[in-house]
Amino acid sequence: MKDYLKIFLLPFSSLVFGIFILMLIVYFLNSYEIFKREGLAIYFTNVWNASEIPEEEYYGVLAAIYGSLYTSIIAIIISLPLSISLAIFIVDYAPKRLKEFFIIASDIMAGLPTILYGIWGAFILVPFLKNYVMEPLYQSLSFIPLFSYPPTTGFSYLSAGVLLGIMVTPFATSIIREAYRMIPQMYKEALYSLGATRYEATKVLLGYIKPAIVAGMILAFGRAIGETVAVSLVIGNVFNIDISLFAPGYTISSLIANQFGNAFVYEYMVSALFAAGLSLFFIGLIINILALYIIRRWKYETY
């Protein structure tokens, strides 16, 4: 007997695949021109010569790649302790009514339109960080390279990193929370019956869900690196590679968001931006596959 269901459903599945593969093809095709011209140097140089004369054009997106990695790492450093603490608090210590409320609140915030984080970041967070964090640190500790850039505008890696950290925390929390909640009650009881304090018990239990935490952080990193509008409003959008937290910069996605509008005027800029997108494409792909692999292996080993 023919499986009509399969025949009926197959086109839809294929369509999803088709779209994804078409997307990959589009990125490769459009990047081709710039690869032919510059080779992989586009990823390893920091130049942005947009010119009316095609011969003088030269593009390198290193600054954007650097900024993407830098801000996402700041975000993860901020988000890691916050999301683990919040997950533990929600599962173990929050009173029952508060628990429900916290879960709803963090779910709402995890899905909140990112532009709302962006407007808050641009109008509230940036002035706050500039006045109360960057300027004091710059005045007293500017001999440290991290704090060495004068914070004139406040738009900086730090602002973007902090905003991303705030944005990914609810998302990371929900992943860690679900894993932590799934730990069999038996284990907790066993630990406490051995006379473990809450600190010692939690330490052991966190070790148990370590893969989930790692996967959660990788996914949070992926979210941070892919975020466009919120970052683009607070990072300053300057071609810059600086170790200082207070320096403005670019990220891959904010570079695309800012430059694509006028890219068609130039001969090679569109292609350069597609190449930048391609690098983001692969970063996204690798991060997601890695996180899925870690979670799957962990679930397979434990259940």
Binding site: I19, V26, P113, L116, W120, I124, V229, I289
Partner: protein
């Protein structure tokens, strides 16, 4: 004796640390919601009904309205739902019904990857596929990008909620002599409809709030309401993004007002999701 004391001390410090860090995690989130209400509410009051229906004023003192953006967001969400949801549900059913076939496994993996994929890449793709050939920004191009973005949410939750339906129902349906087609669509999907609906709402919430995929696809009209699906259109998130970057004070105020409107729309879609989830849990 001393050993016990340090253990208790550590325990206390740990507990204090957890509470402080949790507060630190929650605080900015509340501050964001509160700020949007505090800054947006006066704008809505001052602008009145005209804020929801009017068009963008010239840079200066007036508030005008965000009508085109609101209409645009509704059109984009409707259109992308019509495009994306049917395909996503079918793909989700496929991943559920054929979990061990190569295509079934690959579909599932692909959907999970797409769920966290940088959305700006989808926007760029849609621009190349639709905007360049058509020669103009359009509602279609934006809806196409949004449909791609909402699909994985709908598909994954379809697959997961089907998997949560007890096997007994399926076996019972088969034993009645129904075909595979009927078992899925007449029995399984109906039992799992609540979970599927949740996924649809999440997808819609996502589509309503996305900005990046609209940057190069819809053009963001602020003074024209609607001219056709093949013409430029506005959207609330894109409007906010553009206004924040302007140097004019009244534009910033409009941005806050629009942010509150977007937040309310988002909460309106999100609340039934939470209620649905709770119903299932009981």
């Amino acid at each position: 004796m001393k050993r016990i004391n340090t253990r208790i001390l550590k325990d206390r410090i740990f507990l204090l640390g957890i509470i402080i860090l949790s507060l630190l995690a929650i605080l900015p989130l509340f501050h964001i919601l509160l700020t949007i209400f505090i800054k947006g509410f006066p704008v809505l009051i001052k602008g009145g009904i005209e804020f929801l229906t009017g068009t963008l004023p010239p840079p200066g003192h007036e508030l005008g309205g965000i009508g085109p953006a609101i209409i645009g967001t509704f059109i984009l969400v409707t259109l992308s739902s019509m495009l994306g949801i049917p395909i996503a549900i079918m793909a989700g059913i496929f991943a559920y019904e054929y979990p061990n076939s190569f295509i079934g496994r690959a579909t599932r993996l692909l959907l999970q990857i797409m769920m966290e994929f940088p959305t700006i890449l989808v926007g760029l793709f849609s621009m190349f596929i639709l905007v360049t050939p058509m020669g103009t920004y359009s509602a279609i191009a934006g809806a196409f990008a949004l449909a791609i973005i909402m699909m994985p949410y709908v598909a994954i939750s379809t697959e997961e909620s089907l998997r949560e339906v007890p096997k007994d129902y399926k076996e019972a349906a088969y034993s009645l002599g129904l075909t595979r087609f009927q078992v899925i669509f007449k029995v399984m999907v109906r039992i799992a409809r609540r979970g599927i609906l949740t996924g649809i709402l999440i997808g819609i919430a996502k589509a309503a709030g996305e900005t990046a995929p609209l940057l190069f696809t819809i053009g963001g009209s602020t003074r024209v309401y609607f001219e056709g699906l093949d013409k430029p259109i506005g959207a609330i998130p894109l409007l906010i993004y553009n206004l924040v970057q302007q140097p004019y004070e009244n534009y910033h105020q409009i941005a806050w007002g629009a942010a509150l409107v977007l937040l309310l729309i988002y909460l309106l879609i999100f609340t039934p999701i939470r209620l649905k989830l709770r119903e299932v849990r009981l």
